[in-house]
Symmetry: C2
Amino acid sequence: MRKGKTRSPGRSSVVTLSDVAALAGVSISAVSRTFTSGASAGKETRRRVLAAAQQLGYRPNAIARTLSTRKSRIIAVVVSYLENQFYPSVLEALSQLLQARGYHVLLFIRNESTSKDSETDTFLLEMLQYQVDGIVLASTMMSSELAAHCQESGIPVVLFNRTSKMNQVSSVASDNIEGGRLAARLLLRKGARRIAFIAGLEDSSTSQEREQGLLAELNDNGVQLFGRRVGEYSLEAASRAARGLFDVAPSKRPDAVFVANDHMAFAVLDVLRIELQLQIPEDVQVVAFDNAPQSGWGGYQLTTIEQNVKAMTEATVSILLEQISSEVPTPACHIVTPVTTVLRRTTKS
Amino acid sequence: MRKGKTRSPGRSSVVTLSDVAALAGVSISAVSRTFTSGASAGKETRRRVLAAAQQLGYRPNAIARTLSTRKSRIIAVVVSYLENQFYPSVLEALSQLLQARGYHVLLFIRNESTSKDSETDTFLLEMLQYQVDGIVLASTMMSSELAAHCQESGIPVVLFNRTSKMNQVSSVASDNIEGGRLAARLLLRKGARRIAFIAGLEDSSTSQEREQGLLAELNDNGVQLFGRRVGEYSLEAASRAARGLFDVAPSKRPDAVFVANDHMAFAVLDVLRIELQLQIPEDVQVVAFDNAPQSGWGGYQLTTIEQNVKAMTEATVSILLEQISSEVPTPACHIVTPVTTVLRRTTKS
DNA sequence: GTGAAAGCGCTAACAG
DNA sequence: CTGTTAGCGCTTTCAC
């Protein structure tokens, strides 16, 4: 191991507290204090320290600070995949907010297709090892088990865009039930009567709630669900689902579909329009969920139920920071953000 | 500050090396060694340590380890925005590779629109403070200056999908010039003679090279560039560029456009088809660059020059890890990955 | 307000 | 192979 004053040249970051202290002719605690907001800083001392620090190009070592304070100012965010543009949007918003408050994002992408269950543990371990101050689980496919694990390790967790059976852990999600109802109401109002649903993953709370809302509203209006398939949140499965529903005799076809998210809806629209030569919205109307960026693009013009990314991400960081700063374990809280329907060309005007 | 053995309950991560050592009845170094690969581990000792660690739920503290070893196993990756799906793809691939090798991704999103120049420094500072082992700059819009800064701080940097005037810093990028030539050749072969170009950001090396290749090939075939606009890598500017080029008398219209990336091309296609009611590829052919995921979707079916994300990301991590592990400063290296044209429906068959 | 000193949890000589 | 020990760079009592 290197000895005290030996410096490997070229590494500017090896300027330490004591170097600055030496140059400024004060103690290291003095230096530490001037770099710690809200500490008893001597006026003249501060000036000299700042000068010395400036001259030396001193940068506080966040790692050392973390070791000492047990606060890393790092938030782990885990997502399952970035293919669905909704998630990059979220990631961007989240990162922005966190950065503005002096936190940093340690990104974990848990690609479902290439990862086994055991990896879940690996992930968790790694997050814990890095002493992250908080975790946001923005992964619809993440097991509730993992959430529980995190929770019990004592570090704040918030479930993003999903909820958990156990109310122990905080969550932020859209009003998916209401969203499902909005979709149903819209479709009904536009004259649809043979309404089908394409689910995401069966065990995703998000998909379940959206379906639940759909069914409730349909039921309230005395109409039955016409068909149902599972799209697993993937392009391929969604395409298959669409074929299953629509590649049949016209008399057996739905006249509308509610797709659990925009991402799947793009695939659905492609098979409907291109493979099956169906007219949208004349032959079939479709409404989905999220309002991902591409939904508004000319190629799709998808009518959808919008999730309020801004509200969701803001709630997420505020809960997280709240829990982080609070000494006592804060009770879990569950935020439900409102949704709105945005009308485009996949429903009749 | 908390005293030695005092534990705040509920925080399982406070189990330390010495706790394990005590339970196992060995020294802390023994414990440390069994958790350090390639260390002289006593067979029986190891067994007992592992048992004790297991029982206590011990997790090595990566922060402490970092402080001691000066290796954080964290790589900073900075991107400018995630709206262009090419970047989420890259991020996912990068994260995958890095994770597999025991590294982690600290994500920085430098949203151009909301950030001032001074923030560049802030970013850099933060990365340095966290003692990141390496940096990948996957941001076309990032100033070369920042790259230089990083470089001089002694930590390995690789420019992703861009190059720098100064050859000091490593880079990984596609063969953009060849890509531009491929686009030109394709368009020429498909009968286009009035070929226009929509650039990204003027000072982006990537856009410059693509244009350069286009011009070179055009020139070799004795044809002049028919028109040129700047799309700034944004949907809005690209739409404007498309209007500028095509919202004119038919006699003055290009019969093909090469767009500097797919992201802009989507906007271009939308104005061409929807606003201007032009037939693609009959009235105008378009080819772009990247082969972003959506390019293959039914709504666009965009002919494009594909960047090999796999090759690019693999090269990136291999350079990075190489430089990290090498004691002496490794000379900068510049990887150029091959591109291929993928034919779809925006060019004639 | 300021300095001395004791850690934070782990690693890496070094001597046995 | 094992234990002892001296740090890594910073924060935070605790006296002065």
